[in-house]
């Protein structure tokens, strides 16, 4: 063992650091940990000191007990050229001294003060005369070049007790050019986490509202509750009041956010073809959210929104982001390691402003409650796993939601009905047993069986011909099946190819009351690679798959060395005996265009190419069993070529299902893409486009420019939605936003529509 004190380099006994030797340190990051008072250079650390070079992943200097440790692949070359490798090395005192002096110690969050004269008064305040404050790093090559922004002031007073910085007659300079003058302003230093005071204002213009400015004030009443007022003045509409209350208790947090306005010019919101929801004098809304822990397993929460009209939130962009529906819910949720319980209520407030009858509020259900339970019995039963799934739903609706194919507002027999007026109740339970054994030659055998039972209690007063929608109905579905898989791996050198043929057979009686019961939670049916090997392909409890069905296919996964991994599934499904549940015409016509309606289904396939170097393409499709025509295709791709990152998503549906309401039967053929080009280290150009091939027109686009470095983020973005792709009144918007790190940020937004007002 060497004597602790020397640098521990046995081969160079007479090491004495020459006094005043300069040390150069290079690393990705410098991390200050004030609690442990350590300074760490992290990531690709290189230190040159008096002829020695040290390389390591991390070098930590502990100021308290004066030790310095290099860790992670440490390599030291001493003056004599001897190379020493080690996992960690404790570099003693002399090396450490060099480390401290050479380090330009900055304030904790990389903010810099410079001044001609600085006066420190009894340790509480430091006053800089004719000083400059910035959060930008001085440019390494040309330190004298002005940083992106700086605040030049006659006096800058830093109060260490109050953690405040006061500027007297200050000028905000951009690239050396004075832009704004403040006689006096103060801002908390970055270590302050909560402080009452005005937050940064924002402004903008909207055609129906006029020009507006909003100045929020944050009032920190206590560490665990506060109020934020954000009044806004609109030249055409007047004063909007906005108050948000946040309160944290020991075991949870709840918020209450209210906003309201008395509009001076309500007619500004009248627009032909819409419900003119904004044309009223008093408008407002309230939103409350809450989330509480009941114990280690259980949480209780809510998110409820009450609005005066459909477009208040989007016109004044407060309270709620989405523009098609405001979902209010209250839930009780339990989660253990393997089991789950959730009881929830829903209220759907429609926000779409179009006049179509399908957007009537009365057509959406009020769900109180919907409860789910997944329970996995931990003891194995007959060598297999037993799981129980329960579901209860109770909902009411005031108006039947029928798809008006004639376009004249009258529901004719034969039109799809997505929801019946009245009260719908169902309780379901499902018991599943499954096991898996490795058979001969690596084959995987998976026997399974399940029993499903449902009880309906319906009082939906449409009394449609042939529909059981009034009274009590019961049904049960026993099923048995076997799944066989045989994954085979062909590996050679760096690449490998895996093929896993899969076959599945499920034997069941026919679906009872098929098509005669309402369908509330199993309306969507997407037949693709993810539902190919589902035992029951319906997406909810209201429909059960019946009859004997076989699913055949194979999974493939090829690893082409470092180039890419290509994987996917291909397959087909066959109704061997009994009633094909997907050929049944139920109220929502769920199976008709799914590709499963014939006894021999369409082909489904998927392919995902992941090159790991930034390229990721995932495509899935459904092809007609006879003609191979494409019935459905989804492609999403992301790529990175040099400085450009781009992503695109394409969707093709030959025929939309009935549940798409007014769009049912029409094709969808749309693509939307987004790209951003980082042309310098700090500047970035970005844009996006949405194109509708079916209508041969552009649905929307956006273009923008952004600058961000370690102390400033600035962006200017223009976006446009083509008029008939939105029921929004404003379809063009320009957003300019500027953030100065540690000082604050502001945003200017202007929306204008080429509509008639």
């Amino acid at each position: 063992q060497t004597n602790p004190g020397s640098l521990g380099f046995g081969t160079d006994e007479n090491f004495k650091p020459t006094p005043g030797a300069q040390m150069l340190l290079e690393s990705d990051q410098l991390i200050y940990d004030y609690d442990k008072s350590t300074v760490a250079a992290v990531g690709g650390v290189k230190i040159y000191y008096d002829g020695y070079t040290l390389e390591a992943k991390k070098v930590t200097y502990d100021q308290k007990n004066k030790t310095m440790v290099a860790e992670g692949g440490v390599k030291i070359v001493d003056r004599t050229g001897a190379i020493i490798n080690a996992e960690t090395i404790d570099i003693t005192q002399d090396f450490a001294n060099g480390f401290v002096t050479a380090l330009k110690l900055d304030t904790p969050s990389q903010t810099h003060f410079a001044a001609e004269k600085a006066l420190r008064k009894d340790g509480t305040t430091t006053t800089f005369y004719r000083g400059v404050y910035t959060a930008c790093e001085p440019c390494r090559e040309k330190p004298e070049k002005a940083p992106v922004w700086q605040v030049r002031a006659a006096r800058i007073i830093v109060d260490h007790n109050e953690h405040m910085i006061y500027f007297r007659s200050a000028r905000l300079e951009f690239l050396g050019i004075p832009v704004a003058y403040f006689p006096a302003f103060s801002s908390p230093d970055p270590t302050v986490k909560r402080k009452s005071g005005f937050l940064f204002p924002s402004a903008g213009y909207k055609s129906a509202l006029g020009a507006f400015a909003k100045v929020p004030y944050f009032w920190a009443l206590a560490p665990n509750y506060d109020l934020t007022f954000s009044p806004a003045v609109y030249t055409k509409q007047g004063l909007l009041l906005d108050a948000e209350w946040r309160h944290r208790l020991d075991t949870g947090i709840y918020t209450l956010h209210m906003a309201g306005i008395r509009q001076a010019d309500p007619e500004a919101f009248v627009e032909e073809g819409t419900r003119n929801s904004g044309d009223q004098e008093y408008r407002g809304g309230l939103r409350t959210t809450g989330q509480f822990f009941l114990n280690r397993l259980w949480t209780f929460g809510w998110d409820a929104t009450l609005l005066s009209d459909r477009t208040f939130t989007r016109d004044y962009n407060v309270l709620y982001e989405s523009t098609d529906v405001a979902v209010s819910q209250v839930h009780l949720t339990g989660l253990s390691q393997t089991n789950y319980f959730d009881m929830r209520g829903y209220y759907f407030r429609v926000l779409t402003n179009d006049q179509g009858a399908e957007y009537n509020q009365a057509r959406q259900p009020f769900v109180a409650p919907v409860a789910d339970q997944n329970y996995l019995f931990d003891k194995d039963v007959l060598g297999g796993q037993l799981t129980m799934r329960n579901n209860v739903v109770s909902l009411t609706r005031d108006q039947t939601d029928c798809v008006d194919s004639g376009g004249d507002g009258i529901c004719r027999p034969g039109d799809a009905i997505l929801g019946l007026k009245g009260n719908f109740n169902r309780a379901s339970t499902d018991w599943t047993w499954q096991s898996q054994t490795i058979g001969p030659a690596g084959m995987v055998l998976k026997p399974f069986a399940y029993l499903r039972a449902d009880a309906f209690y319906l009082s939906q007063d449409e009394q449609l011909l042939g529909i059981d929608d009034n009274g009590q109905y019961y049904r049960a579905m026993p099923a048995m099946g076997l799944e066989w898989r045989w994954p085979i791996l062909a590996a050679g050198g760096a690449s490998s190819m895996l093929i896993e043929p899969i076959a599945q057979m499920i034997v069941r009686p026919d679906e009872p009351l098929a098509g005669r019961l309402p369908n509330e939670d199993a309306q969507s049916l997407v037949f693709d690679d993810s539902s190919l090997f589902d035992w029951d392909k319906f997406s909810g409890y209201d429909r059960i798959e019946g009859g004997t069905r076989a699913n055949l296919g194979f999974r493939y996964a090829a690893e082409l060395g470092a180039l890419a991994t290509v994987s996917g599934v291909v397959g087909q499904s066959y109704q061997i005996a009994g009633l094909n549940s997907f050929a049944v015409e139920d109220l929502t016509e769920t199976g008709t265009v799914s590709g499963l309606e014939d006894d021999v289904s369409d082909y489904v396939g998927s392919m995902t190419v992941d090159s790991g170097r930034g390229y990721f393409v995932s495509a899935r499709g459904r092809f007609d069993s006879a003609t191979f025509d494409v019935n459905q295709a989804q492609v999403t791709a992301t790529g990175k070529m040099g400085d450009v990152t781009a992503s695109a998503s394409y969707l093709y549906l030959r025929e939309q299902p009935a549940i798409a309401s007014t769009n049912s039967g029409t094709p969808t053929d749309t693509i939307s893409g987004r790209a951003s080009w980082q042309f310098t280290e700090t500047w970035r150009l970005f844009g996006s486009i949405a194109w509708d091939f079916a209508e041969k027109q552009m649905a929307g686009n956006s273009i923008g420019l952004a600058y961000d470095d370690e102390c400033t983020t600035f962006s200017i973005a223009y976006s446009e939605i083509t008029q008939d792709y939105t029921d929004l009144q404003t379809s063009k918007s320009l957003i300019v936003s500027l953030q100065l790190r540690t000082l604050g940020g502001t945003q200017f937004q202007s929306n204008f529509s080429d509509g008639n007002n």
């Binding site: 393997t338 769900v367 997505l418 994954p487 050679g492 539902s531 798409a660 649905a699």
Partner: protein, 172 residues
């Protein structure tokens, strides 16, 4: 190159090389992550009691949803749910990392004018995507363990690594 069934035992009667039942899966935080975990635990043990674990699998699950396409009334005809899992398989005891990677499962659902149907269709899509990612991970882990078994079964003679001179102190 060698062509072999993944789960075929190298010596008949013995547990297959890729014995997944010795993997214990870490805890998770939300419903979808629990679905992935339950699927994996069944894939490894086939519903039977698990033998003492020799490997630890930690999984980090994130669920995301994206609109596909667009319609005249601002709605989207379909939504695509992706369940992405970052996972790491380590050997218990030595803590050696055997496989550290990420897989993702994708499932989509058609949008209905009825919002309750959409909420339930999303849950079904999440379950399908969770099953898809569990199936993918099962195979990748089996292949990784099969490679492991090959290495320990017939170790190739590797010259001992030259250590740094003992005089260098290691650590404080």
């Amino acid at each position: 190159c060698t062509v072999r069934p993944v789960y075929m035992a190298t010596t008949p009667g013995q547990a297959p090389a890729a014995d997944l039942s010795a993997i214990s899966v870490g805890d998770v935080g939300d419903r979808v992550a629990q679905q992935v975990r339950n699927n994996l635990v069944f894939a490894f043990n086939g519903g039977k009691q698990a033998p003492p674990a020799r490997y630890d699998l930690s999984i980090n699950v994130s669920t995301s949803e994206v609109r596909l396409g667009f319609e005249k009334d601002e709605t989207a005809p379909a939504y695509q749910v992706t369940v992405a899992v970052k996972f790491q398989l380590t050997e218990r005891g030595s803590g050696r990392v055997i496989l550290r990677s990420s897989s993702s499962g994708i499932a989509s659902y058609d949008r209905s004018n009825q919002n309750f149907a959409n909420v339930r269709a999303r849950i079904d899509a999440e379950n399908r995507a969770a099953q898809a990612v569990a199936d993918q991970m099962q195979l990748r882990l089996a292949i990784a363990l099969a490679k492991e078994a090959k290495v320990t079964v017939a170790p190739v003679y590797a010259p001992p690594k030259v250590d740094a001179p003992a005089i260098i102190g290691s650590g404080i």
